[in-house]
């Protein structure tokens, strides 16, 4: 009997622990396990842009830049590639990658970014990013703006970008 009690205690403790751990971790990705048939193969998640002002109404210095980050997931069976981005909030958009050699950080233009079938590509700080050149207006935290991703096969994908304070 006591042995069984002990076993139950241990199992119970493990279960409680697992439950607690489960509460602490956030679900990864978009939530859905499998894309239903007919869903677009390219999914864009967590699109956000670096803020350039804390409030509306601030003077916009010419040549103010910002940057968009997101996660691109290819759920299709074919590889695809991101070729460019368009948005009204900037005069130009460029695909860039930050490369750190030794202690020196540089931005290198990238012509296309491959998204292999069944894989995801993260655009994030210190790595791949969409550079917004010459903003036409300030980006204030909480703002949202529209952009269009241009993919080689999937074509144009409209996205909504949230402005965040970093």
């Amino acid at each position: 009997m006591p042995r069984r009690t002990l076993a139950l205690v241990v199992i119970g403790a493990l279960l409680c622990g697992a439950l607690a751990a489960g509460c602490g971790s956030r679900p990864q990705g978009g939530g859905g396990a499998q894309a239903p048939a007919g869903d677009p193969p390219i999914r864009v998640e967590e699109a956000w842009a670096q803020h350039t002002a804390l409030q509306e109404g601030q003077r916009l210095a010419s040549g103010t830049n910002s940057v968009i980050y997101f996660r691109l997931e290819n759920r299709g069976a074919e590889p695809d590639a991101l070729l460019g981005v368009q948005t009204d909030v900037a005069q130009g958009c460029r695909l860039h990658e930050t490369v750190v050699e030794g202690e020196v950080a540089r931005m290198v233009p990238v012509e296309r970014i491959e998204i292999p079938a069944g894989e995801a590509v993260e655009f994030q700080r210190g790595g791949l990013h969409v550079m917004l050149l010459g903003l036409t207006r300030h980006l204030v935290p909480g703002d949202r703006f529209q952009a269009v991703l241009i993919l080689e096969k999937a074509g144009e994908i409209p996205i909504e970008v949230e402005v965040r304070a970093g």
Partner: protein, 205 residues
Amino acid sequence: MKARVVIPIVLAILLTAGVGVVGLILLNQESQEFRGQVMTTLRYAPDFTLTDQNGNPYEFRARDSEATVLFFGYTYCPDVCPATMVTWREAMAGLRRYRDRVRFVYVSVDPERDTPERLKEYLALYDPGIIGLTGTPEEVAAVADAYRIYVEKTPMPDGEEGYLIGHTATSYLIDSEGFIRVKFPTGTDPSVVANDVRVLLQQSR
């Protein structure tokens, strides 16, 4: 029958709680060691004078502060420099009661575009307590040289207006005797910066 079920459950909950408490205590224990890149050869942080974001001369002497975190960047930098500023903002928040004993200093490597006003606007996006410094191109180049900061101006691709600057993107933690003690490469976690500042401050008294 009932007790046979209830007792194990109660014991299990108590055991989980016990493990959790011990875990939390271990997690919250303050490290006494640096977690950034510790300098193996001591380098002195040279003095200099530049202009701060309010337009006033700022004499930088490492020994004037118990601890200094120093970074060279430029406000038109879209990726690495904002990332460092976000790291600083979070590190400052994590420092809590140690916050007032350390200064964070941002030196522009783009004096042509980074006027004091521009620096003021920019740093306010992150923390107005950050000291922003700029000057004439010659003044800034001399400071960058003294700190062995690599600065490389590159034109925009496709002939667009403006330019980018490749630069040393490391932050330096300097002690009250003026020595660079720890380097934080770009992408260092804010908790590492906060930890090392606190460890340095605890050593200094």
